[in-house]
Symmetry: C2
Subunit: 193 residues, 2 copies
DNA sequence: TTCATTTCTTGTCCTAGTTCAATGTATGCG
DNA sequence: CGCATACATTGAACTAGGACAAGAAATGAA
């Protein structure tokens, strides 16, 4: 049960058994059915969730009512709107929604602080996780600006082969920043080659 | 001399005099003339720099040889390619270049580790700085995908009023993900209103 | 198994933004 | 000062991708 998350948190920092026991004891296991919105715009995000099983999306709604997907999270990924809400006390601008029935391990801000107090090395692990998210987001920004829709789609399939099976195409279009119709046209063109 | 950076690092975590002395003693003050490339693609990024004075840009070069600016850093901002290079030992994909004569405080990876060893609370401060960078980058990604070029330019001017005076327009265009010519057309249209 | 809802495809027309090229304007430097 | 280089503007022609609409296919609930 804890092996996935323990492997994940130990990726860049080594913890001893005692530290991992503290970590595990603070995790809250939760199951949530599909199509459930975990966080609405305007709310405070009071969780960080590690996906044990299932699939989640995080998205903005723009001025014209269009959804823009910022992140998908599947097994072994973290999802939260950690960015502003927790430390700045600003309401979130994003939505987080399950796309499949999900199992999570959740942290609240309080239990996370408790963890850092009891085992300060986790501060480091979370800092490095954060750096990796930043790296991924910067790369995505670069791709969004500099690549054609076709390139973006092909690279998405390379990078997330399972996701492109699991998730509706219009969600992928929204993630790539293109219209669902245009993605469909790209796909038929690719299929003809 | 140290007041700017001490204020910056204390924004989300409170440090006592002793901790700040340790911090300050590890900083390396450096001046670098304008138009100097601090980091080339393919190198390891071995610094994190705090800008005391001056202006820096961080950019990718895409498959067609076009520059895409990821970040500007002016006074009181941090700049580095922290994302992959330091912990993953992967060469950087970005360039970092001074646009003006600059004064920095620099950290090497080793002195940063020394800092964390001597005063672990800094781990937390850097984690929160990282979270803020992530928030800013996510916001930028959202804007890039969902807004028109005109909106992006107007918001850029709102958000970074000094920058839009200080740096060449084609750099701003590159940051916004539009061509320099089109930015020029937007500006003349705005001026006519 | 049927009906409803959501998702995907395809076509037509349209526009925001690009590319290229030419000209004008600053700016830095010996 | 004068020249060279970098930077900004403008226009004309082009294109990637969007918006809309209508139909087809898949999914799902009862």
């Amino acid at each position: 049960m804890y092996s996935q998350i323990n492997k994940n948190i130990s990726r860049y920092v080594t913890f001893d058994t005692n530290e991992l026991e503290i970590f595990n004891s603070l995790l809250e296991y939760t199951t949530i059915p599909k199509k459930t919105i975990l966080l609405h715009e305007g709310e405070m995000c009071t969780f960080e969730a590690f996906v044990i099983k299932g699939c989640v999306r995080k998205y903005y709604i723009d001025a014209n009512g269009f959804e823009v997907i910022l992140q998908f999270a599947i097994e072994n990924a973290w999802i939260s709107d950690i960015s502003f809400s927790i430390y700045e006390e600003k309401p979130s601008r994003v939505y987080i929604e399950t796309l499949e029935d999900c199992e999570f391990f959740m942290f609240s801000p309080e239990t996370k602080e408790e963890l850092f107090a009891k085992a300060p090395k986790f501060e480091r692990a979370f800092r490095i996780l954060m750096q990796r998210s930043l790296a991924v987001t910067q790369d995505r920004l670069f791709n969004t600006i500099s690549k054609s829709a076709t390139e973006k789609y092909l690279e998405f399939r390379e990078l997330y082969p399972t996701l492109s099976q699991r998730v509706a195409q219009h969600y992928i279009a929204s993630y790539l920043g293109i219209s669902a119709e245009f993605l469909s046209k790209i796909r038929t063109k690719i299929a003809k080659l």
